[in-house]
Symmetry: C2
Subunit: 238 residues, 2 copies
């Protein structure tokens, strides 16, 4: 019998678990979740709470293989090695325990999430359940539409922001930020958010030149409160 | 006392109503919904079903003002007139009936939805609840991530597809299609879907040159089955 693996987007917590996600969580024999070194990982705690509320399947914690944070000579190779270590860890967890499996995905599996790439090639029957994503919650909190009437929105990463602006993009959602490189964009407008729907939630909006310091301070405060920070923003040309 | 107006994304139906959306629906005195000429509007029927399942508040149907479909000499003015007629119709409905109001939004209020623009300027206290959007469900059904590793995704409309491709975009989500203009893109890959999560759901994926006719046939079949069709696709350069 083919095993089933359900990839389940749960948004930012129990408040976003759709009926079809709840049904998926209830249907599996267990959930697997990657976790950093210690079991006090606050992101793991949210997954555990989601599981508890929806049928309480066991959560099997898979230690996330360490990633070489030094600047390796061969960056793509380092990323590939890390990916392969994660695939091996996941495969090991699945071999140890029979039954149907669920993987809880923060936000939505379709945006900047590695789960679908990790399970590619496993001998399982996959289905995917969508979840509320961070850009949607950012827009909801700021009560905005992500684009001007009939116009596009370009979704990219902090790493690629400069490249997109240079190519003429004037309305961008920027995810996966490590810093906040907004030099020269003083007259653009920003709608920023951190830890949306979770501990440390913070929002700032305004002209970049006016609110940049507020954003940096709010980012630090969110990290201090929650122990982690994930932020994103909409950036629009004047 | 300030009235509350809650803008509630409900995804594609009851299966996507998050706990916070359900709470919002239960909290209002009534819902308003725009409807085309007749009350047999199948899109209205889905909203009515969502309401019925979550506390069953009354649904006040606001006839959608007719839009001039002829090619007016002044297109922007015609759009503006239509927008103002809708604002007036909504304002009228709110004046007739006191209490807190909810507006159910198909998909998510942050993408190609006019609700937030319609209520701008009303004397109400607004909040917004996100919902599962069509691009997320498209990705879930096809079991894909919407972009290559760390790369951007450009979200735009059928009208602006050509412009985006000419500007070098090579990974696009295209919404609000009326036709399907893919000439010259034979070697691109497409992941297409129609009426996702609803009657007439259809999926096609492949090389554009190989599957274009399948997409057109599936689009017609979806429309024949449901009485309406809404489609979208991810398009990726070779």
């Amino acid at each position: 019998m083919t095993r089933r693996l359900r990839v389940i987007g749960f948004g930012m917590g129990p408040q976003h678990v759709t009926p079809e996600a709840a049904e998926a969580i209830r249907s599996v024999d267990y959930l697997v979740a990657f976790a950093k070194g210690d079991r006090d990982d606050p992101l793991l705690a949210v997954r555990a709470e989601v599981a508890r509320r929806y049928g309480d399947p066991p959560v099997v914690v898979v230690p996330d293989p360490p990633r070489d944070r030094a600047d390796p000579a061969d960056y793509p190779a380092a990323v590939r090695d890390w990916h392969e270590a994660r695939v091996a860890a996941l495969r090991g967890a699945l071999e140890e325990r029979p039954g149907d499996v669920g993987i809880l995905v923060w936000g939505d599996p379709s945006l900047y999430d590695s789960t679908l790439r990790l399970i590619d090639g496993l001998d399982v029957e996959v289905d995917v359940v969508p979840g509320i994503s961070a850009p949607q919650l950012l827009a909801a909190r700021h009560q905005i539409v992500l684009h001007e009437v009939g116009a596009p929105v370009h979704v990219t990463t902090g790493r690629r922001l400069r490249e997109a602006v240079a190519a003429g993009q004037d309305n961008l959602v920027v995810m996966l930020n490590s810093g906040l490189d907004l030099d020269g964009l003083d007259d653009w407008r920003i709608w920023w958010g951190a830890n949306l729907g979770a501990a440390g939630e913070a929002l700032v909006a305004g002209r970049v030149g006016d609110v940049r310091d507020d954003v940096l301070a709010a980012r630090d405060a969110a990290k201090a409160e929650a122990g982690w920070v994930m932020d994103l923003f909409l950036l629009r040309a004047p």
